[in-house]
Symmetry: none
Subunit: 139 residues, 4 copies
């Protein structure tokens, strides 16, 4: 994941949020090792949004499992996702809006975390950014 | 648990995973004190798998209770396993794939943690490794 | 601190780093509450640079003291800055490159953290960004 | 960093330790994101050696700075390396034996951490493993 790709993802995700009249969004892009590449928080978003965006994307990279699958697992086995959070220092937010990013061969090259509107709308904005960068997303 | 035994366990668990066409696996071997003896993560496994494998095995050693029994306890009394995680620093992942290892006299000499496929398949791969090393496993 | 201002600060700080042939930089902008507004990490920078950039800027906002003054305090009273880090959860990196941002009336409206080259060069890049945004910096 | 490369590094580092009659060694290999790929601890090594080996390698990856350079920085500015440890959750051990691994183009693809003998001998064993794998090490 290059910085240019990360910028494209963030700018297009935010543009998508404005076009869809979503609430102010915050968008983080993590690399294949779960490390922060870029982040932007729109004006009027709540101050603590970095940690939520990060938590959505971080769990996706570390587990190789996107937010929708994480939520399903949390619904079925809450204690398992609680334990997962224990081993990852409480940094995992298991809901949609954490989107895996794959290259053309299907390898995970990072994740995008979006927060601010409903979890489903957050995921839509993330996908808009990922597709604008010519990459594949898994919500 | 010697390093030779740990290597055998890991290599045979991974071989078993390949033979059964499981997803890429990660395997940790802990000694009788719950300390890491050896670990391997297969190519294409998600980056954060060490912590999950470790959590499965660590709880097994610390509690003297294998993953299946831990999961039963978590299903019946989620708050108890949450409290256990509190006292062990959030390092316990209470699901199958955390397998106790016993010597011929039945004494616990360590534990194996496998993650990557379903919890049940993870436990099958762990048992294949433990048996190949001439030891007894409790899933 | 608006997102537009934060973008200007980051882009101009990175441009300055390229013009001065510094090593790959990472730049974070925090708001007046010490919360992340925006961040970018250049390609080839080490993966863990977010935490260092954040630590430089976070201490500046929380203490109302820029990196140079923090370093002087750490040199004179290492135990004091260690204690400060205790109360702030270990999130403070007390060296230059953590730059306070003030508005035209002198009020602190955030901080910029830059890491990647020497601490002094990091501070120079931060100042280039802050000045390009029409704001005042204190290194 | 593939598992095959990691195995070669570990086995050759341990062989080197035996040839040089070093104390029992523990060797970890981390990938480019600082995540554990493989680890082995020799028989008779102290139980807590995983964390030391990991700490040597983790700091190297996260900072893009090998153990020797970390130690120099810690000697010159102890409070800086203490602060770095704060932002990385206390996981950094800034001494030789944490060796950066680079590919033929010079890009960091991971790190090796060795512990058990003197820090300098640990680094020699790490280099023996890295060179046997056809990679470049920076001590």
């Amino acid at each position: 994941m290059s910085l240019d790709q990360a910028r494209t993802i963030i700018h297009k995700a935010l543009e998508s949020g404005r076009a869809l009249q979503l609430k102010p969004l915050s968008v983080v892009v993590l690399d294949a090792g779960g490390h922060v590449q870029a982040f932007e928080r729109e004006d009027s978003a709540a101050p603590g949004r970095f940690a939520i965006a990060h938590g959505k994307a971080y769990g996706a990279v570390m587990l190789g499992m996107a937010g929708t699958a994480q939520m399903a697992r949390a619904e079925a086995q809450a204690y398992f996702m609680a334990a997962v959070n224990g081993v990852y220092g409480g940094q995992v937010v298991p809901v949609p809006g954490g989107v895996l990013v794959r290259d053309s061969a299907g390898a995970v090259i990072g994740a995008v975390g979006v927060t601010g509107d409903t979890s489903d709308n957050d995921a839509i904005a993330a996908m808009a950014g990922i597709e604008a960068a010519g990459l594949q997303g898994e919500i």
